[in-house]
Symmetry: none
Subunit: 227 residues, 2 copies
């Protein structure tokens, strides 16, 4: 990814009618001052200013390369890349229960334990589950950000995600599709009904989708007795 960003920036500067302005654009995006950039490159600050002002109509590729590499090196030195900008603040009131199994559990055993009905028979339940998370999906819609999904996944993405308060089951599947990490199993607890689209999305992701009619308390008890 670093090399792709590197190439992207260089390409953009190279192709710009106003390479100086593009250099500035990227420098600002990296939140780097001209002073800092000039120090890093070991040149006078007026050099950077002149480049960005377009004094040089056709900077050489060696110069462009040095500048682009400086952007990346300074960013890495300060540890503030894009992904790390995201807030670490987390809200956990959507997580009803979460547990890592001491011993991995077969998905089929878990489904049996919660008297689950497989809505995606084409999906194998011969998977190993390392843990589960029970999520209040009504709360999750409004209170969970992307980073919170990492909390939901806990230590392993090889887990069962169980959603309570589900009406048609679309929203959880949409969120799962959008997130880079995928669960091993998805369970809807007492949904009003399960939308056909939700089943299709599950199949597209290759994730078994299961329905259970157990109450939340019983569901959690049964899950905690596993592993």
């Amino acid at each position: 990814m670093r090399d792709q960003v590197r190439e992207k920036i260089a390409g953009e500067i190279c192709l710009s009618d106003e390479p100086g302005k593009t250099i500035r654009k990227w420098r600002e995006q990296f939140k780097i001052s001209q002073q800092e950039l000039s120090r890093h490159l070991g040149v006078s600050p007026s050099v950077i200013s002149d480049y960005e002002a377009g004094r040089r109509k056709s900077p050489g590729v060696v110069t462009v390369r040095k500048i682009v590499d400086a952007f990346l090196e300074i960013d890495e030195k300060t540890g503030s890349n894009i992904l790390k900008q995201y807030s670490l603040a987390a809200k956990t009131d959507s997580i009803i229960s979460i547990k890592e199994f001491a011993v991995e559990v077969l998905a089929s055993d878990l489904v049996s334990k919660i008297q689950g009905e497989n809505l995606t028979p084409a999906m194998s339940l011969e998977k190993h589950i390392h843990g589960y998370t029970v999520i209040d999906s009504v709360r999750a819609i409004t209170s969970l950000s992307s980073f919170d999904y990492l909390k939901i996944y806990g230590w392993s993405s090889q887990r069962a995600l169980i959603f309570t308060g589900v009406r048609f089951g679309r929203s959880p599947m949409i969120a799962i599709r959008a997130h880079p990490l995928k669960p091993a199993l998805v369970v809807y607890q007492k949904p009003e009904q399960v939308d056909e689209l939700a089943i299709r999305l599950a199949e597209l992701e290759g994730i078994p989708l299961v329905r259970t009619q157990l109450a939340v308390a019983e569901l959690v008890d049964n899950l905690q007795s596993l592993g």
Copy 2:
């Protein structure tokens, strides 16, 4: 797609320790002779030979740009065969239009350009936009995986995501909340109506949500005239 290949080649030449060799590599892959390239650029053939031999250690970006554009133009004159072959990413059905701005654009300017109405007045439009993606949201639901979201975001998450085919606007916002990268601006193109939840989700993410009644073609034209 053409612009991506263009940028790729330029970036590669620019970043190469031996730009001359990289120029030759791409010329050969486009199956263009030095003679043909020199004729197209209106320079002496020895100029091309000198560049490729590395006689110039740091060719200027204007020169690189001319050369790259010559590759593409010559290829296009003969049926774009190489350009098609070397597309970097298959354009998914869901991406109607995508572009990186050469110079960042203010969100407020973009919104004006598409005659947008801000549905989240508490959200500032004083943001810098680096690019946009126009997404067919009906297709996106079933056909886009998490990886494809990275394509949507292109190289900068400081972009405007524009969703067409929106009914209530819930699904796009849910997907955005679930994904680690956040856009700077979300636009719904001619939604049936915008669900209150969608607005709330946008506010929770601190992302301005805008509605536009422009037709897709006009919307894309206006966007492409930016930056």
